[in-house]
Symmetry: C2
Subunit: 367 residues, 2 copies
Amino acid sequence: MGLSPAFVKRVENLRRELHRLSLRGALICDPENLYYFSGHLIQEGNATALLVIPTDGEAALVVHEDDHQLQSIQDFTGDVLTYRGGVSLHEIDAASTCFIDVYGKSLHPLGIESYSLPFGCGAIVGFVSDEAWRDIQGIMARLRRCKDDDEIALIRHAAAVADTGQEAARELFAEGLSEIVLLSECRSAMEEAAGAPIGFLADVLVGEKTALIGSPLGVAGSYCAEAGDPAIVDLLPRVQGYFADTTRTLWSGTPPAEVHKTVALLQEVKRDLEKLLKPGARAAEIDAAARGRLDREGLFPHHTGHGIGISHFEAPFIRQGSEDVLEAGNVITLEPGLYFDGWGARVEDDYLITPEGFEKLTRSEGG
Amino acid sequence: MGLSPAFVKRVENLRRELHRLSLRGALICDPENLYYFSGHLIQEGNATALLVIPTDGEAALVVHEDDHQLQSIQDFTGDVLTYRGGVSLHEIDAASTCFIDVYGKSLHPLGIESYSLPFGCGAIVGFVSDEAWRDIQGIMARLRRCKDDDEIALIRHAAAVADTGQEAARELFAEGLSEIVLLSECRSAMEEAAGAPIGFLADVLVGEKTALIGSPLGVAGSYCAEAGDPAIVDLLPRVQGYFADTTRTLWSGTPPAEVHKTVALLQEVKRDLEKLLKPGARAAEIDAAARGRLDREGLFPHHTGHGIGISHFEAPFIRQGSEDVLEAGNVITLEPGLYFDGWGARVEDDYLITPEGFEKLTRSEGG
């Protein structure tokens, strides 16, 4: 299924888990998992789709009738079932009815993503709590943790797009520029580089708001940079379904000595943390190493890093209490930061864990 | 609850429905409904929240502990319950556990949005199919159909932002400009006008792709306009949680006579359809009037219009088979279009239905 051997391999891995759990199939509605196993990417405003993977038997995509001509559906090598749109308020209802019509209870016990499948679709498993279904969302997250070559190529591309955004920020940021224009122009530069609409999350903050770290409390607004203001530019472009996540701390004009010194320290800490990146490294120890350097300098109230991929925030989590261990194929961020009364600074890059250690995926220079 | 009397009134209206259905409360997790009834807007990347509205008793917001300082939570005048983040893969699981700890079965039978509440949260209603819960998503949609004054003010603002985007498109579109740059620059102009990050959906297509109407098949890419190419610019900014939705058909250089004539016809058809806008008008008859004019000219393969508000696509639906009847307080779009072999055109504006007829909310001129 899908054009690439990568999809065949991913589905094989899932089927192995389904066999192990004595499940007769999986019903996938989480858009991230659906993209991972089928190559069909559902974005905001697109119609609902379901992916059915029988443990033994042909996979099927259940899609809105209007989506049938989409390239990602045409490329899908399993069955394609269509539901009629515009009938119900709830496309997921129409899609799950289509599933029941075709499969009935033949795939019970069924693996489902119990936090993605709506309660109203409970008829799929007869609203029975432990005989007809089992939650496999955690298994999917585990399968997605090590990226295959196709995924690494896509994240590499997203990282290059993020680099373009950071270069635009570095060129543009100056006294008088507003947070919101800085954010918009970074996005435009990345979208032009991608050549297609991108998904986008960002924290772009200037001056005193840099102390707020980012969302939910710190959101870009109309504030215009004054001379010497720092800016935290944290950009998360999603290109062809995969995220990169990079942060630079910039300043307008000549930075105050403390800003300059802090950014240099964060860069040094990040370089030292990189030396710990290799298969077998314990995420909690990397986090502890960051805290050992930063806690005496100021506040460091967030994680040291996290995995990225189809989602912008996934395992391995590099934070206190994490039990994650790095493996080759993980793609992670490192993002040491320091926050003071009235300002803050953060730097962040993306890394592929390799059998030998790591490869840095983001290339842009500086803070 | 909420600072504005509008929220008090909205909750009163919901409680009246809950009484009528003999329900003891409502559990709201759909972000659109949660914003409508509480003023707390959850956007992409923000933490899960739940809103509990007992039929008799104080309302409560269940929010991530990190969100406690958000202005929209501070402004909420009911109870605020917090769940700890970072423990579970699934924030909704932590939030629903918090709900169960506080309320148990005391609000059964409970109104739920069965297509928004995840199956994994079924413990809230004991996985029982018809005694402990009732779906109230349809009721919520009905309550949201007529906009109150606060909502009309927000949609008016979103429409002004959309006008800014269309003015930017009109200024920029010229031979050599790519679809993706046109899309990005429209967004940037709107975001700067809004002074904060906006939500955004769009169909921006140039040349032959205008025949594809828009997503899912037509998506902006790297194609650059050639002399005489038409562009369909369909912009849906979401500002402070409310959508506007406008379309213009532009051209690079001097338009071919057929493009010019078609856009003029669509404007004329739209003006004639406006004359039908008033309370009591049947949506299907407005749609039929559009088809009566357009079917003999070319293809018109989509709806004539739809409601907008917190969502970009809601009742009343102005299309074939619709049973919707316009009411004062509805906010709708009219979007006649014509599509031919190799190109297409569409125009779209937003209208408030008033007791006397309508008010046009979008102001930008032209195709």
